[in-house]
C-alpha cells in the first residue's frame, strides 16, 4: 500500500517508497515513520509539516540514509539521483552525504565550534569529502558562493561567537551547498530566531533552489505559514504517516484531510481574517507510537470518524491529479 | 520517586528496572552479609599468629595464612568491616559538609556564594591524594577517627560543587516560582519542593563518596599512612606487599584484599550508574 506510482519519471531527484523507520527503546519499537512515500522533483521546495511526534524529523533523516541507532531503517526504498541509498554501507553513505544529499539539522547553528574560524570549519568539512582539493580552492569556492547569494564573505574570517544566531545559521546553510548536493533536507531551519531573521533565512533557502545551486529542497517545520512562503508542495504528517500531500495553494485553500483542516484552521496570522476566525478545538493527543492503533490513527480525534475508520487504515490515494489524501471520506474521490 | 507508593515497592521497582543497580546492590549486599556472618560466626582472631606461616588455602584456613601465621579469612572479614565503616563515615562527613556549603552558597547567592565558591574551587585544585598524604604524615599515631576526618575533609569540594549547581538550577525553575505564587513559605519550598528533587543526586554522590573513601583509605594504608594498629583492607595489602608475598608466590595474601577493594568499589560505581540511569532517562517526551 501507499506506493505512489503516479508521479513517476521526469526529473525525479528523490524517491522514497514505503519507508519505515523505528526507534529501538527499552520498552520496544517506537514506530516513528510507518510507511511513508514521497517524490521530489527538480526545482521543488517541499514542505514537510506536522506537529511534534509526527515523525517529520525522523523521515527527514531516513530520506538521506541517516539511520543511526537507536533509529533503525526497517523497510522501504530511497533513491537519490537513481542511487539506492540503503544499498550503500554506512561508510559509502558518508561519502555521498554533502554531495548527493545533505541535511541541515535543527539548531545546527549551535553546533559550530565557537573557537574555530568559519573558514577553517568550511575547509575541514569539505576536505572530508574532496581529498585532493587545496585550501585555497575551497575558500575561493566559498567566497564565490557567498557572493552568489548576496552575502558578505567577510564572515569567513570570523569566529562563531562573534556572529548572531541568524548569521551562524546562514553560514551553515551556505556551507551545506558547497558540494552542490541534489537535495538538501532542512529541519526547522528558522526556529529560535527572531522574525526578521527568519524571513531572511527563508529567502536564502528560496534563492538556493531558484538559482539552481541545489536541485531540490525539503523543509521540515511545524509552522505552515512559514512553509507557505516558499514551498510549492506540501506533505502533512500525523503519527508517523503522511495524511495529505498536495500543492501549496490547494492545501491552504481547500484542505481535505480532517487533520489538515484543523491544522490550517488553527493558524493565526496578523491578517484581517484572523480576527473573525472561530478557531475550532480538537480534544486528545496523538496516539502512542509504541503501540499504534489499528485503523486510522486520527480516529480518536476526528469529527467525521466512522466504524470503518476504526478498523481499516485508509491508504494514501490520489483523489485529484497531484492531490493525495489518506482518509475514508474520499474513498470515491473528492 | 513516587510519593504514593510504599518505600519497599519503590525500591523493588528500581531494582527491576536497572540491571546495573541490581548488580551493584547484590554485590555490595554479599560483602555486607559476608562481613556480618563472618564477625558473628567465624571466631578466629585475625591478629593471633597461631597457624603455620604462609600456608596456601586449606580446610582449616580457607584463604590461607600470612607470614606470621595469621588467618587471612579472619583478616579479610575484619578488614572489610573496617574499610566499609571508614568509607561510610567519611562519606557521611564529606556529604554533610558538601551539602551545607553547596546548598547555602547556591540558595543564598551573592557574596556568601562567592566566598564559598572560592574556597571550594581552591581546594578542588589541590590533588586530594597529595593533601591526604601530607595531613596524614603530620600525625605520628593515627586513630581511625583521624583517618575518617581527614578523608571526609578532603573530599567534600566536588560534592559541594554539584549540590550548588543543582540548587542554582532548581532555584529559578518555574515550579519554584509557581510555589511562591501559591503562597508557600520559604521553608516549605526548600523541604518539600527543592530537596526531594536533589535527593537522587545526594544519594548518588553519597555512594560515589563511599567508594572514593574506601579507595583513599586503601591508598593511605598501602603507603603506611593509614590508621595505626588496626586491620583494614589497605593495611592487609600493605603487609602483603611489604612482606614480598608476590615473590614468595603467596598469591592468596595479596589477591584477596586487592580483589575485595576492587569489587566493592565496582559495586558502588554500579549502584551510582544504575541510579543515574533511573533518574536521568535518555528518551523523554
Amino acid at each position: 500500500m501507499n506506493i505512489k506510482n503516479s508521479i513517476e519519471g521526469n526529473n525525479a531527484i528523490l524517491k522514497a517508497i514505503d519507508v519505515r523507520g523505528y526507534y529501538k527503546t527499552i520498552r520496544g519499537y517506537v514506530k516513528a515513520v510507518d510507511g511513508c512515500s514521497l517524490t521530489v522533483h527538480e526545482g521543488a521546495i517541499i514542505g514537510l509539516a506536522g506537529e511534534s511526534g509526527s515523525g517529520k524529523s525522523t523521515l527527514g533523516k531516513l530520506i538521506i540514509g541517516y539511520s543511526k541507532p537507536p533509529l533503525r531503517f526497517i523497510s522501504g526504498r530511497v533513491e537519490v539521483d537513481g542511487i539506492s541509498i540503503y544499498n550503500l554501507s554506512w561508510s559509502e553513505r558518508r561519502k555521498v552525504w554533502g554531495s548527493l544529499a545533505t541535511m541541515i539539522p535543527q539548531y545546527s547553528m549551535n553546533s559550530l565550534n565557537p573557537v574555530i574560524k568559519i573558514s577553517d570549519f568550511i575547509v575541514d568539512t569539505l576536505k572530508q569529502h574532496l581529498k585532493d582539493i587545496s585550501r585555497k580552492d575551497i575558500l575561493e569556492k566559498a567566497i564565490q558562493r557567498f557572493n552568489e547569494l548576496q552575502l558578505s564573505p567577510s564572515v569567513l574570517n570570523m569566529y562563531p561567537f562573534e556572529l548572531s544566531g541568524g548569521m551562524k545559521q546562514r553560514v551553515v546553510i551556505v556551507a551545506s551547498t558547497l558540494l552542490n548536493p541534489s537535495v538538501i533536507v532542512a529541519d526547522e531551519p528558522t526556529s529560535a530566531l527572531d522574525v526578521s531573521t527568519q524571513r531572511a533565512l527563508l529567502e536564502l533557502l528560496y534563492k538556493i533552489v531558484k538559482q539552481r545551486i541545489v536541485k531540490s529542497m525539503i523543509i521540515i517545520s511545524h509552522d505552515i505559514a512559514t512553509l507557505y512562503q516558499i514551498s510549492n508542495y506540501f506533505h502533512i504528517m500525523y503519527a508517523g504517516k503522511i495524511v495529505e500531500s498536495s500543492s501549496t495553494e490547494e492545501l491552504i485553500n481547500e484542505p481535505l484531510h480532517p487533520y489538515t483542516k484543523i491544522l490550517i484552521g488553527a493558524i493565526t496570522t496578523p491578517e484581517p481574517i484572523t480576527r473573525k476566525k472561530k478557531l475550532v478545538s480538537v480534544a486528545g493527543a496523538p496516539p502512542n507510537l509504541l503501540n499504534p492503533p489499528t485503523g486510522c490513527r486520527f480516529y480518536h480525534r476526528c469529527p467525521y470518524a466512522t466504524e470503518k475508520c476504526k478498523r481499516d487504515e485508509p491508504p494514501l490515494l490520489e483523489v485529484k491529479p497531484g492531490r493525495f489524501v489518506a482518509c475514508w471520506l474520499y474513498k470515491n474521490g473528492v | 520517586m513516587a510519593s504514593g507508593q510504599s518505600f519497599l515497592n519503590t525500591i523493588k521497582n528500581m531494582l527491576k528496572t536497572s540491571i546495573k543497580l541490581f548488580l551493584g546492590v547484590s554485590i555490595l549486599s554479599i560483602f555486607i552479609f559476608f562481613t556480618i556472618f563472618g564477625l558473628l560466626f567465624y571466631k578466629v582472631d585475625p591478629k593471633e599468629p597461631k597457624f603455620a606461616s604462609l600456608h596456601p588455602p586449606s580446610l582449616e584456613n580457607p584463604l590461607g595464612t600470612d607470614i606470621l601465621g595469621r588467618d587471612i579469612l579472619a583478616q579479610l572479614i575484619y578488614g572489610t568491616a573496617y574499610s566499609l565503616k571508614i568509607g561510610v563515615l567519611a562519606a557521611l562527613i564529606a556529604s554533610a559538609i558538601g551539602i551545607i556549603v553547596g546548598g547555602v552558597g547556591g540558595y543564598l547567592g551573592g557574596i556568601v556564594d562567592d566566598i564559598l565558591t572560592l574556597i571550594t574551587n581552591t581546594l578542588l585544585t589541590i590533588p586530594s591524594i597529595a593533601l591526604l598524604v601530607v595531613i596524614a604524615a603530620y600525625f605520628r599515631v593515627r586513630s581511625e577517627w583521624i583517618i575518617i576526618l581527614i578523608i571526609g575533609i578532603t573530599s567534600w569540594p566536588s560534592m559541594a560543587r554539584s549540590i550548588r549547581s543543582q540548587v542554582l538550577s532548581l532555584k529559578s525553575r518555574d515550579f519554584i516560582e509557581l510555589a511562591k505564587l501559591l503562597g508557600l513559605s520559604k521553608s516549605r519550598i526548600l523541604f518539600v519542593e527543592v530537596l526531594p528533587n536533589m535527593l537522587s543526586y545526594i544519594v548518588m554522590y553519597f555512594f560515589l563518596n563511599i567508594a572514593g573513601a574506601i579507595v583513599s583509605e586503601a591508598a593511605l594504608s598501602v603507603i603506611g599512612l593509614g590508621p595505626t594498629a588496626t586491620i583494614s583492607l589497605g593495611i592487609l595489602l600493605r603487609w602483603a606487599i611489604a612482606w614480598d608475598s608476590i615473590r614468595c608466590g603467596a598469591w592468596w595474601w595479596f589477591l584477596f584484599p586487592g580483589l575485595a577493594i576492587t569489587i566493592i568499589s565496582v559495586s558502588l560505581f554500579l549502584i551510582n550508574d544504575g541510579l543515574d540511569q533511573l533518574y536521568n532517562p535518555r528518551a523523554r517526551g
Binding site: 527572531d194 527568519q198 516558499i230 496578523p270 475550532v280 | 510519593s3 510555589a179 505564587l181 501559591l182 517526551g285
Partner: protein, 266 residues
C-alpha cells in the same frame, strides 16, 4: 478615564551581574507605563530580549522593580502582602513541564494551593473544588490527578495549571507565552479558555507572546515592546493593520501570512 484595575507607571528593571565586582548592567525593562481593565485581554508582544518576560515577573511580584511602580486597585502592589496579592493576580508560564515538580503527582499542585493561599478553605470542600475547576478546563479529574507530569501532554498540563489558577479565582491572570510550547492542534482549547475567562468572568488577561498573529486573534489591546521599551500600544486592529512605529511595521511585514507571500528577488 476610570481607574485602572492594574497599571504600571514608569517601571524599570536593571539587572546587575558580573561576580564580586558587579559591573555588568542589563536594562531589561526601561521606563514603561500602561494600564489595564477588567474583562480585557491585553497583549504584550515582543521578541526575545524585549523585556516582556521580565515585565511578567514584575507584575507577579516575583521580581522587585528598580524604579517606578505597579498599582493594583489603586494601591502600590509592594504595599500589599504577597499572600493577599496572589489571591488577585496569578500567573501561567511557558513550559508546562517545568511548572510542575517532577517528583510528585498532579494532585500535589492542588494540595499546595490549599496549603498556601487557600488554607482557610474547609477540608470538606476541597476535593469538590478541585474537581470542579478541572471540569471547567475539560479535564477528567479521575484521569489526571493521580498521574505524573510526563504522562500528560503539554496541552493537558497547561490546562491543569489553568485549573489550579481558577481554584484561586484571581481577577488577573498573567500568561507568559502560555501556548508556545504546545502543538498547534492543542492550542486552541487553551486560547478559548482564556477568551471565556475574559468575556464571561470579566477577568483581566495579560497575554504575553512573540507571536503577533496569536495576539491579534486573542487581544483587545496590544502593547509592543522592543529592547525594554514600549514602542507602540493601542487597539489590536489598529496596531496590526495600521502600525505606526517602524519596529512594529517591520515586525508585521516580516511575519509569514497565508494570504500573501513574501516577494523574493532572485
Amino acid at each position: 478615564m476610570a481607574e485602572y484595575l492594574l497599571s504600571v507607571e514608569h517601571l524599570s528593571k536593571i539587572f546587575i551581574t558580573g561576580g564580586i565586582r558587579r559591573y555588568e548592567k542589563i536594562v531589561a525593562v526601561d521606563d514603561i507605563s500602561f494600564g489595564c481593565n477588567r474583562g480585557e485581554i491585553v497583549g504584550l508582544i515582543g521578541e526575545s530580549g524585549s523585556g516582556k518576560t521580565t515585565t511578567a515577573r514584575l507584575l507577579l511580584k516575583l521580581l522587585k522593580p528598580t524604579s517606578g511602580k505597579i498599582v493594583y486597585g489603586g494601591k502600590d502592589v509592594w504595599t500589599i502582602p504577597d499572600i493577599e496579592y496572589h489571591r488577585y493576580v496569578q500567573g501561567i508560564f511557558q513550559d508546562p513541564y517545568a511548572s510542575l515538580n517532577p517528583v510528585y503527582k498532579i494532585s500535589h499542585l492542588f494540595n499546595n494551593t490549599f496549603v498556601g493561599l487557600l488554607k482557610t478553605t474547609p477540608k470538606s470542600e476541597r476535593e469538590e473544588m478541585i474537581k470542579n475547576s478541572l471540569k471547567l478546563v475539560h479535564l477528567n479529574p479521575e484521569e489526571v490527578l493521580q498521574k505524573h507530569i510526563y504522562e500528560l501532554s503539554g496541552g493537558e498540563l497547561q490546562r491543569v495549571l489553568l485549573a489550579n489558577s481558577l481554584l484561586v479565582n484571581p481577577e488577573v491572570i498573567v500568561a507568559d507565552e502560555p501556548t508556545s510550547m504546545i502543538d498547534a492542534s492543542m492550542r486552541v482549547e487553551i486560547l478559548n479558555i482564556f477568551k471565556d475567562l475574559s468575556r464571561k468572568d470579566r477577568k483581566l488577561i495579560i497575554f504575553i507572546t512573540h507571536d503577533i498573529g496569536q495576539a491579534f486573534y486573542m487581544c483587545d489591546r496590544i502593547i509592543v515592546m522592543y529592547k525594554g521599551k514600549i514602542v507602540e500600544q493601542g487597539p489590536a486592529e489598529q496596531i496590526v493593520l495600521d502600525p505606526q512605529h517602524s519596529y512594529t511595521k517591520r515586525l508585521i511585514s516580516d511575519v509569514p501570512k497565508l494570504h500573501e507571500k513574501f516577494v523574493i528577488k532572485v
